[in-house]
């Protein structure tokens, strides 16, 4: 609306921005509620956690929840660093593999003509709308049949094929102008080069968005740890945090759960801050007139 011709972040505050800020600011406060709540909740002492009516803001902030969390993790047989390591490996590999597969597939499905293309898209569409929990047992059978129980593969494989991400990336690849690719083919590029040098840079925002989505799914996923992994030392941090909060008595567990929620939330925040400039990367230099 307030279009001014250039998409450069303004250096200075102008009076004309005031009306937009007036609209956005209340919404921002409203949207920030859950975050403020998590942060506040983690620092609440015991009596405030169970106060009725529940309070939103913390009055006497303490670090008790965090210390009890650390204490509980010390008494456990397996050090916490092991879980952190597991989670890191699983998350990084899953994000990398699923982004690689989805961008490849999206490029082919959108820009290359071959048979069975539309059938594949339909299968993907169908899979998007299917309920994840319903395929739990077939999934388990596949994994146990492949001898993947108690390995990292069991964490990674079920999440690599993410239909929603493919759908999202494909929508963006569709918008890459054909003439750009044709120009590259004219100059002697092969398909792989077109994929690397043209498609990938052009759909950077989609990749960043998909990365955030995949990360969220992997990071908060407990299904794989619950069902596909028996060995405690192969489970992920999310699972560990959850059991810590639940296994101890529920009253003390509440505080630890709040602290764990904050700890699990921070990587999300960091990743988003890192990626958000890519999300906004403009296509202003697309070179097509």
């Amino acid at each position: 609306m307030a279009y001014k011709g250039h998409r450069i972040n303004p250096k200075r505050f102008e009076l004309s921005q005031l009306k937009i800020i007036c609209i956005v600011l209340p919404l921002v406060i409203f949207m920030a509620l859950p975050i403020i709540f998590i942060i506040n909740h983690a620092f609440k002492p015991m009596e405030e956690l169970f106060a009725f009516p529940p309070t939103f803001f913390v009055r006497n902030a303490t670090l008790d929840n965090f210390t009890s969390l650390i204490k509980a993790s010390r008494t456990a047989g397996i050090p916490m660093s092991r879980y952190v390591f597991n989670s890191l490996i699983v998350t990084v590999l899953t994000i990398f593999l699923s982004l690689l597969f989805t961008t490849c597939a999206a490029f082919a499905l959108s820009k290359i003509r071959f048979r069975a293309k539309y059938v594949l898209m339909d299968i993907n569409q169908m899979a998007i709308m299917f309920v994840g929990t319903a395929v739990l047992i077939p999934r388990y059978l596949v994994i146990s049949f492949g001898g993947m129980i108690d390995t990292y593969v069991a964490h990674i494989l079920p999440l690599v094929a993410m239909p929603v991400a493919l759908f999202l990336v494909k929508q963006f690849v569709d918008q890459v102008p054909d003439s750009l690719m044709e120009a590259a083919y004219m100059d002697g590029a092969n398909d792989f080069q077109v994929y690397i040098k043209i498609i990938l840079p052009m759909i950077k925002p989609a990749i960043a968005t998909a990365a955030i989505m995949v990360f969220q799914q992997v990071w908060t996923n407990m299904e794989t740890s619950n069902y596909f992994v028996n060995d405690d030392s192969m489970k992920t941090l999310t699972f560990y945090m959850n059991t810590l909060a639940n296994a101890n008595n529920t009253v003390a567990g509440q505080g630890m759960a709040a602290a764990a929620a904050l700890i699990m939330f921070i990587p999300n925040l960091v990743l988003f801050i890192l990626l958000q400039n890519n999300v906004m990367n403009t296509m202003a230099h697309s070179g097509i007139k």
Binding site: Q17, F101, V135, R139, P163, T209, Q216
Partner: protein
């Protein structure tokens, strides 16, 4: 796989495709093949076997899984006997159909606001996105427990009674529910805002400049440039929203399916849950199809242009009339002013 494909092509297609087309097909398959592999194992196979389970009654015993084929028995039981499933499904449908447009429109508005030049744009963007992370985690349960996710009951009831006075109860209830869960509905819109933002960024600024040169207002620019350009993204967002709402852990049908999956009763169990899941996903597909049909509706181009031209002509005629009337009015005004102030403008008669 590739060989078979090629052979099938030879048999079916009479005109043998050229070498170039064949090469393209091969590279296409090469690019998709990793995805196909994953999808075949973890999507197609699992979905297929869950459909087979849906037709069976499965009991898990120490000896293994016991299958007994019941045909459509599970489905009829869910639809005719089960007292939980159908009402929940109906309430799910109404709430989804109502909340999807709200989420998408809200996301579009926010994205357009954030697309402008505001200070601290990045910070605002961050805030708008973050609730999604929270909502998809276990924290959401804590929040709803504390009552932070609903507007307090008094307001909701006032709204509900106001709406109930002129709408049938079924719809009024759904709208009241929507109001009470409005906060969560808006919290769901993070990814949609991101998608819209990246789509908005791609619109060429020169188009707006050209439109402004020709005297287009901001409103016109929105309808004629912004909306048509981001139309595919709107469809994408609608689909994403529906899927997100349907697959969410907060969704009551999902918990219903999970409960019946692990319940040890004779008639429920895994087959029953699979049947439920299939019914449920069928409904989701239907909802998506309806929305997609609405958004992709495109009449014949010629017909559309004829209709547009007609409308345009009418509008023009109205404008001409308006200008004429204004001219007459202005002439009268000038006449009046002239007689009042006793001075005359040159009226072409030659004498002053």
């Amino acid at each position: 796989m590739k060989k078979e494909d090629r052979q099938a092509k030879k048999q079916k297609v009479r005109i043998k495709p050229g070498r170039l087309a064949r090469r393209e097909a091969v590279t296409g398959l090469v690019f998709v093949s990793p995805w196909i592999l994953g999808a075949a194992i973890f999507l197609v196979y699992t979905m297929g076997s869950s459909f087979w389970y849906a037709l069976n009654n499965i009991r898990i015993t120490p000896l293994g899984r016991l299958f007994s084929f019941v045909g459509v028995g599970n489905f009829t039981q869910i639809l005719l006997v089960d007292t939980d499933f159908t009402p929940q499904l109906v309430s799910y449908i109404t709430s989804t159909v109502l909340s999807v447009p709200i989420i998408v429109v809200f996301a579009l508005i926010i994205a357009m606001l954030l697309n402008g030049n505001i200070k601290m744009k990045g910070f605002f963007r961050l805030i708008f996105f973050l609730p999604v992370i929270v909502v998809s985690g276990p924290v959401m349960g804590m929040l709803t427990e504390q009552g932070a996710a609903t507007i307090s009951t008094i307001d909701t009831q006032a709204i509900g009674s106001a709406i109930g006075s002129f709408l049938p109860t079924g719809i009024a209830d759904a709208i009241t529910d929507l109001f009470s869960s409005m906060i969560t509905v808006l919290w769901y819109s993070g990814v949609q805002i991101l998608i819209f933002l990246s789509a908005l960024q791609k619109i060429d600024g020169a188009m707006y400049e050209a439109a402004q040169m020709d005297g287009g207002s901001g409103w016109e620019c929105f309808w004629k440039i912004t909306l048509p350009t981001i139309k595919p993204m709107i469809l994408l967002n609608v689909v994403y929203t529906i899927v997100f709402i349907s697959g969410n852990e907060q969704n009551s049908i999902i918990t219903l399916i999970q409960d019946s999956m692990f319940s040890g009763t004779k008639e429920k169990g895994y087959g029953y849950a699979s049947a439920m899941a299939w019914l449920y996903s069928l409904v989701v597909v239907l909802i998506v199809a309806v929305f997609a049909a609405l958004l992709m509706a495109r009449k014949d181009v010629y017909e559309r242009q004829v209709r547009k031209a007609k409308r345009e002509r009418k509008k023009e005629a109205r404008l001409v009339k308006k200008i004429e009337r204004r001219g007459i009015r202005n002439a009268r005004k000038i006449e009046k002013a002239r007689t009042k102030r006793k001075y005359s403008t040159y009226d072409g008669s030659g004498d002053y």
